[in-house]
Symmetry: C2
Subunit: 209 residues, 2 copies
DNA sequence: TAGATTGTTAATCGATTAACAATC
DNA sequence: TAGATTGTTAATCGATTAACAATC
């Protein structure tokens, strides 16, 4: 079970999790794939297919128990434990991410922030002191870090990634507008903000300039 | 031409644009789909299919002229004109986006920032004064705004979206962890940061807890 | 039991890859 | 001209949707 799940399915899981959380908050006890379909926007068929990749969580004639399903999807997503994270690059975006409290709520615990700018090194963000990037590798070796958020400039990102790989990072969340070259077993999620804007302008370009 | 292009293709266009820019900066004059394939990671066949949705930009026996292709893709993406943007919610993330200089370089011009917090209203971010959100609707009517970046909390996002829709916004870039309900002809791009983290934890969950 | 809804197989749809004739 | 590489059609692959028997 849970081998060779397609990326399309995996990318839908957080959305299921979010909508089930909302149902739970509204005290909804049970939901059918048809009802869920209407609020989440996937077809009922797709919902049943998706869930059955991981097990038979429903019951014929009844549907799904909201609380059980919420917990199951939480487990599938790995929300049963904490993940240690660091931020590299404490510019505007790095600082914003450092202050995001909700990541903590999901078990993503920020334990380090690094920057190379002497004006930023030493300041405290959300209770964590910004450390000089020269100490990053040592820090990564001393602590078992799961995820690194790369918030550096485009030009610095690959160099940072190389150091992280050497220090056995498990996953990278990359906000720099560049595709990082890393070993295959390291998961990388990219947030290419400018790409999103270009997608919007693609659709807007015709409209009354 | 350029009707019914699939979303899969559109989402690859910014990446073509980025890699062609890099080639241009390296003074590469021509490139074949095979060579481009090796650096960008799509198959040569896919590259030719993608480009041919918009026209025959290549030449048999030669390949593609890098500068021409870069310009063509820029046109397709709508980078031939400026877009007026506003930010709603001047918290950490809103402020970070306001300071992103590179958006400007692509023609996305920030002209307004709104917030409801009296402690934030009045301060200046990147040369723009934060305005009370009560004045947003009027501002939107007075100015022809293309894109609104929603950086509010989850709970405030839909209300903001409703006002934007009334004020004839054309596109929304939504950073709140919620799916907005808006008219069909308004383009929405979502950046659900927590979803990305959950995707990473999905893959990490097995690894040495 | 009858009705509802799942789990799962089969059919369809769409996207990617392969192949090759056209042509620079 | 010969070689290279596109543009485009056909084949394959994968994901979504439909259908329905199983079963609560």
């Amino acid at each position: 079970m849970e081998n060779n799940i397609s990326m399309a399915v995996i990318k839908r899981l957080p959305k299921y999790h979010r909508y089930l959380r909302e149902l739970l908050d509204k005290d909804v006890k049970r939901i059918s794939s048809k009802e869920l379909s209407e609020i989440i926007g996937f077809t009922a068929s797709q919902i049943r297919q998706d869930l059955n990749n991981f097990g038979g969580f429903g019951q014929q004639g009844y549907g799904y128990n909201v609380e059980d399903l919420y917990k199951e999807i939480g487990k599938i997503l790995g929300l049963t434990r904490n993940y240690k994270t660091v931020i590299i690059g404490a510019g505007n975006l790095g600082q914003a991410l450092a202050n995001y409290a909700s990541f903590n709520r999901y078990g993503f615990e920020l334990v380090g922030i690094f920057d190379k700018n002497p004006k930023i090194v030493g300041i405290e963000i959300n209770g964590i002191e910004v450390t000089d990037i020269d100490h990053m590798k040592q820090f990564m070796s001393d602590n078992d870090i799961d995820i690194a958020y790369i918030c550096t400039s485009r030009t610095g990102a690959q160099e940072v990634a190389d150091i992280l790989v050497e220090a056995n990072i498990k996953a990278i969340w990359n906000f720099a507008p560049v595709d990082l070259k890393v070993e295959e077993d390291i998961r990388v999620e990219n947030v290419h903000l400018i790409d999103d804007l270009l997608t919007l302008s693609y659709f807007l370009k015709g409209k009354n300039e």
